[in-house]
């Protein structure tokens, strides 16, 4: 076994999303990184598991850990002799196939033109994973599940949207896109809405005389918003929606093949490719702050049989080493449900065999965020053919079961009766509920951190990774204000491995890599400038 270096620029504890982004970014600019996780697996709260490991993980003893998954319950359908299987599935068969499942602790979708996709492409990390376009978006209109028209063609063939409504919708959407884009151009100003930024989006739509039908589609299906959403937020959501649609598929969303647990691992691979050292499943005994000979603060860490020091240390939310008073967290209520027929039955699944990914956002009265439902089928490689993996998420208010009940009781059933005509409600074959720690949107996690020990926030209650990426950028620029954030990695062909011409002992590969590492800060400034411009738009 080769020896582990005793000193690193950075040690990262935990392999959740933000930790992995920071590790990748740091390694990418040529700094030495040791990335460890006390778990045997990647991802922490962001991991995906097969069925068996998923249950083991949820039920494992976490001792006196404060920030952990809580209130876990699980239930199987009671198969009897008369009802020994449903659509060919029973408990034994599901368990025997369970090795192939990839069940996310925190499922997310990615806007085709969103922050994660943008970052994956700009950093060239995109080559480490594959995605699937979400097949359709559903909404609940007048108590019934309905398919949201995705493309322009869909909207025009939709029977329950009148011609006048179609015109209204087009006009409104066009105005949203154009709004303030040409701020200095007087002729456009007249076309613009006369409405305060912090006014409610729903009031704007009412002012523009949109029908209830249209308001529903825009608010819940396109923007995944609620009645409290401001004009500014709504505008941003509708723009992301519009620029994302039609880029890869018929809906504006993507889902990673094999589940969201792949995403942190992609960043870890980039970190490793640039020399980051990975060590999972080692217990950390002790972390201390010491001073080196010149009085600089260093972090000293004992783990396994190693004693290692680093200039900086970053800890993940689940690492046990962060100050939870300074990094407050809340919970996301989660349900994972397995069925053997798709949601909505044949009425919304007539056009396909239900092999894809389906999103439904279900607003809940009296709660600021609704319930997000992501249904996965076998094309995602997350579940076997013929089964459906239904993920439900919402911010935790009264506990997972109670928070998610409005959806479960309306659209799923606990019993099974093959005789009934109504196939819109799938029978729950297996369900588990739990609450998982998440960070609080809008809380300032970064500005008070002055190192050398930094902490990462966890997942946020959002569909995509936007807030997590924003926080990662903030933390990284706090740690390394002069370094660029994840510049594009070269294509594999451009990396020459250990060429004989270069004889500098111990420096061969780094020498090659150094050419690929940006030398100055100019590029970063350009990026930041661009961002500022985007923000002010």
């Amino acid at each position: 076994m080769d020896d582990l270096p005793k000193e690193f620029d950075l040690i990262v504890i935990g392999t959740g999303f933000q930790e992995s982004v920071i590790a990748a970014a740091t390694s990418r600019v040529g700094k030495t990184v040791l990335h460890i996780d006390q778990n045997e697996f990647y991802g922490g709260f962001w991991a995906s598991f097969n069925l068996e490991n998923f249950m083991t993980h949820l039920n494992r003893d976490t001792g006196d850990k404060k920030c952990k998954i809580r209130n876990v319950s699980q239930e199987w359908f009671e198969f009897t002799e008369e009802k020994s299987e449903i659509n060919g599935w029973n408990k034994e068969k599901i368990i025997s196939e369970g090795r192939r499942f990839n069940i996310d602790l925190i499922p997310k979708l990615n806007y085709c033109n969103g922050k994660l996709v943008e970052l994956l492409i700009s950093s060239n990390i995109c080559r480490y994973t594959e995605f699937r376009a979400v097949d359709k978006v559903l909404t609940v209109l007048n108590g019934k599940i309905d398919v949201v028209p995705g493309s322009r063609a869909d909207i025009f063939t939709k029977k329950n949207v009148s011609i006048i409504e179609k015109r209204l919708l087009m006009k409104f959407i066009t105005q949203c896109v154009e709004y303030k884009r040409e701020e200095n151009n007087e002729s456009f100003k007249e076309e613009s809405f006369d409405f305060p930024d912090d006014g409610k989006f729903i009031d704007l739509m009412k002012q523009q005389k949109l029908t209830d039908n249209l308001i529903h589609y825009i608010l819940y299906a396109m923007c995944m918003a609620n009645t409290e959403t401001t004009f500014k937020e709504g505008l941003e959501a509708i723009r992301t929606y519009l620029t994302s649609i039609g880029r890869y598929g018929n809906t504006p969303y993507l889902f990673p093949m094999f589940g969201c647990g792949e995403i942190p691992q992609c960043f870890c691979r980039l970190c490793a490719v640039f020399g980051g050292v990975y060590w999972l499943g080692q217990k950390i005994n002790d972390i201390q702050l010491i001073n080196d000979e010149s009085g600089n603060e260093l972090v000293k860490m004992n783990f396994g049989n190693e004693e290692i020091s680093a200039k900086k240390l970053v800890c993940g939310l689940d690492s046990n080493f962060i100050d939870l008073n300074q990094n407050p967290f809340e919970y996301i209520s989660r349900a994972v449900i397995i069925t053997s027929s798709p949601l909505g039955g044949s009425t919304v699944n007539s056009d396909m065999d239900g092999g894809g990914v389906v999103l439904l956002y279900y607003p809940v009265e009296g709660k600021s965020d609704g319930i997000t439902m992501i249904q996965l089928a076998h094309y995602t490689s997350c579940i076997s053919k013929g089964l459906y993996l239904i993920h439900l998420s919402t911010t935790c208010q009264n506990g997972a079961k109670s928070d998610l009940q409005p959806f479960v009781e309306t659209f799923l059933r606990h019993d099974h009766d093959a005789e009934t005509e109504d196939d819109t409600k799938p029978t729950i074959l297996f369900s588990t509920y739990f609450e998982i720690p998440s960070s609080i949107k809008g809380h300032d996690y970064v500005s008070q951190q002055n190192g050398p020990i930094y902490s990462c926030s966890g997942a946020f209650s959002e569909l995509d990774y936007d807030e997590s990426i924003r926080q990662s950028r903030l933390l990284y620029s706090k740690m390394y204000p002069n370094d660029e954030f994840l510049p594009k990695a070269p294509e594999p062909e451009e990396i020459i491995i250990g060429d004989d011409d270069d004889d500098r002992e111990g420096n061969v590969n780094l020498g090659v890599l150094a050419d690929l590492v940006p030398e100055n800060k100019e590029d970063t400034d350009k990026v930041l400038e661009k961002e500022d411009m985007n923000k002010t738009q």
Binding site: Y128, L242, C268, F274, W279, Y379, P492, I495, V508
Partner: protein
């Protein structure tokens, strides 16, 4: 084969640190070798077009990027592999003994549909060195006991047997790929940022609402 769609084969190379995984792949694709041992830095994956049974296929060979050093390869690395290359150092018996656990690890993590017949290829590397410690017979016996895994003795340094080994790897990977589920052909997954990205983007007239 009914369709002539472009075939991309994913091949992963496993084995203990410093058995020569990166060197083998570098010798095969770039015809280069470096004497200096470094834990893999900068090695990601390399692609090479190969002809197998009159078909041109693209072989993507994935390096461990050093994550095997402390047994920390994540499951994402194993996804969708069409062939797994197991490498040991013929001068280091421990690296040979560990083939068992690398094979098991692959079967657990990748969980291929048909584990009994998943294509492995074993390479005994560094045969140019004199201090040989694992005999050909011993290696062959192990390969036979694991459902007749093809075995090659290679030297990444001298380029011995490297081409022929990878030709076999490509062939077996292609056979595996053809066996895999038809389902994915109907509904392909997307790789972002690649040329298919722009191809998938419809004309602006179609989507600008």
């Amino acid at each position: 084969m009914a369709t002539r769609k472009k075939v991309l084969l994913k091949v992963i190379i496993l084995g203990d640190s410093s058995v020569g995984k990166t060197s083998l792949m570098n010798q095969y694709v770039n015809k280069r070798f470096s004497n200096q041992y470094k834990a893999t830095i900068g090695a990601d994956f390399l692609t090479k077009e190969v002809v197998v049974d009159d078909r041109v296929v693209t072989m993507q060979i994935w390096d461990t990027a050093g994550q095997e050093r402390f047994q920390s390869l994540g499951v994402a690395f194993y996804r969708g592999a069409d062939c797994c290359v197991l490498v040991f150092d013929t001068t280091a018996p421990n690296t040979f003994k560990n083939l068992d656990s690398w094979r098991d690890e692959f079967l657990i993590q990748a969980s291929p549909r048909n584990p009994e017949h998943f294509p492995f290829v074993v390479l005994g590397n560094k045969v140019d060195l004199e201090n040989r410690a694992v005999s050909t017979k011993r290696a062959q016996q192990w390969c036979q006991s694991k459902n007749d895994i093809p075995y090659f003795e290679t030297s990444a340094k001298e380029g011995i047997n490297v081409d022929i080994a990878f030709q076999t790897i490509a062939k077996n990977a292609l056979a595996q790929e053809s066996d895999e589920g038809i389902d994915s052909a109907f509904s392909p997954s997307l790789t972002l940022g690649s040329s298919s990205d722009s191809n998938n983007r419809p004309n602006s007239s179609d989507c600008s609402c």
